[in-house]
């Protein structure tokens, strides 16, 4: 197999490639934050009676909350702020498809490139 000679990349091309990668990193990480997509569904289940007992805290728990500087009123929003786990099936299926498609492409395309590497490496010998 003929040895592959890659083209030399000029400075402008290198700068452009760096810019592409930086922009991609920021879009992937920053955009979900900006769009408010990051974070689990948590909401407060309010209680009318704000007492340690109503909040499900025994005497030991109550004494620790107080040691930490909380009262039943101030601890209410922490204790009653709960996850509501609901499986959103369409999103789960989309996630599974995206992940599987990504890994399938990754391994197939890598294998194609790897065969070129192996052929050139071992045909030289």
């Amino acid at each position: 197999m003929a040895r592959y000679i890659p083209p030399e990349q000029n400075k402008a091309g290198q700068i452009l490639d760096i810019a592409v990668v930086v922009v991609a990193i920021f879009v992937a990480l920053w955009l979900p934050l900006k769009l408010g997509l990051a974070g689990a569904a948590k909401s407060i289940d309010p209680l009318d009676a704000k007492t340690w007992d109503a909040l499900g805290q025994n005497a030991t728990m109550a004494s620790i909350w107080e040691k930490l500087g909380y009262t039943p009123e101030t601890a209410h929003d922490i204790i009653q702020n709960r996850f509501h786990y609901i499986i959103d099936w369409p999103t789960l299926i989309i996630m599974a498809i995206v992940l599987i498609a990504y890994f399938v492409f990754l391994f197939r395309a890598s294998d194609k490139e790897y065969r070129e590497v192996i052929n050139e490496k071992f045909d030289d010998k």
């Binding site: 890659p6 974070g39 789960l92």
Partner: protein
Amino acid sequence: MTAAVETGQTVIHGDRVSLLRVLGPAHVWALGVGIVLVGEFTGWNFSADKGGALAALIVCWIVGLLYTSVAMIDSEVTSTVAAAGGQYAQAKHIVGPLMAFNVALFLVFAYTMLEVSDAILLGDTIVAKAGVEGLTHNSFIAATIVVLAWLNYRGVLMTLNVNFVITAIAYVSIVILFFSVSPWTQGAVLKLNELVTPGNALPYGWIGVIAAFQFGIWYYLGIEGTTQAAEEVRSPARSLPYGTMAGMITLLIAAAMTWYVCASLMPWEYLGITYYPLWDAGKLTGSPLLENLLFIATLLAALASANGCINDAARAWFSLGRDRYLPSWFSAVHPKYRTPYRSILFLLPIALAFAFIADLNQAITFSILSGVLQYTFMSINIMMFRRKWPLGTIRRGYTHPFHPLPAIVLFCLCMVTFFAIFLGFGSQLIAMTVFYFLISLWFHFYRYKFVRRGDQFSMPWPKPQGY
């Protein structure tokens, strides 16, 4: 393939200046544990928020199993493929260039976002301790990232010597806390039976346990970073398995002690939301000495972790430049300090930017996402490694036992963790996977043309079976 010529402690590839082989097993331990130990000081406790105190303990053990598999697999492959970039170099030799490109990005994202989380933790801890109205964490975050980048710029040996000392102090503080609260006696200081009751142990049931996997990863995330030093250790075949496995044992002990003390000192609702569980534990003992010790240890753990993360992310980025997967400008080694200084400097503003726009658990999730993608790769990678070069065909520094059980366990636990991330950050996971997909298309159809094909395989191995 460039000829590597050993000249004392200096390795020269052809006429290119290369990295120094100066590190021993203690440095490998310090790199791995230094990166991870901060997970005991913050982050793991968010798993209690997700599923309750008992869920945090269950995932501590199960995720410990995941990371034991990671350490076993990593030790075998890295002790055989000893090159800078760790898992990146493994992917290059076993799967192919595109996979290697992706793995390097997983590493860079995981470590840079972990560094961001460390800096945020450090800033928030100082602000909380100062208790001064109007004081924000921004200047502390910026100072942390910039000073540590400078330290990394100046040299790997000094960086990891510093890490060894501060990691050891942080670790000892957990041990001191553990023995100071009479762990063998319940009721005096620790009140586990009254805080974790049958009624509140699993407040969301088993779905909460699965959801807790997301932050359970944080107990150990980064231990695989030991492999990044492969090209800078004096004896990779000995130092890497020894340092990694010793690190994993250290962390399993620290995680168990941390859970036991914290779950016995504070209600799970508070434990799940605090940024400083160990510092709070110190406060709740009523001892000013322990409180101040744990405050300092929290800062040191964050510093050690950020320090190791800069080291690892820069080496992964450097490797991409050296192999022309990214512009070769990144592959420069500093002529005096012998560090990948351009990669260190390039990643600095990215870390700073995200430290100011993300909050702590978002940054942690970014890091976890890239970590889990990488572990999924590792479970498949070891199967391919054993198939392409069966035992006896090449010299391995270490051969892990029970193959393929660790790989299967690792793969299954990664799937569970993906589901756990879906329960909280599904959109984020999809967005990041789409990003990796698009950047892979860019690499495969455009950037790969700049890569020298045969040079991607530099190990003195026979042709892989099946090719």
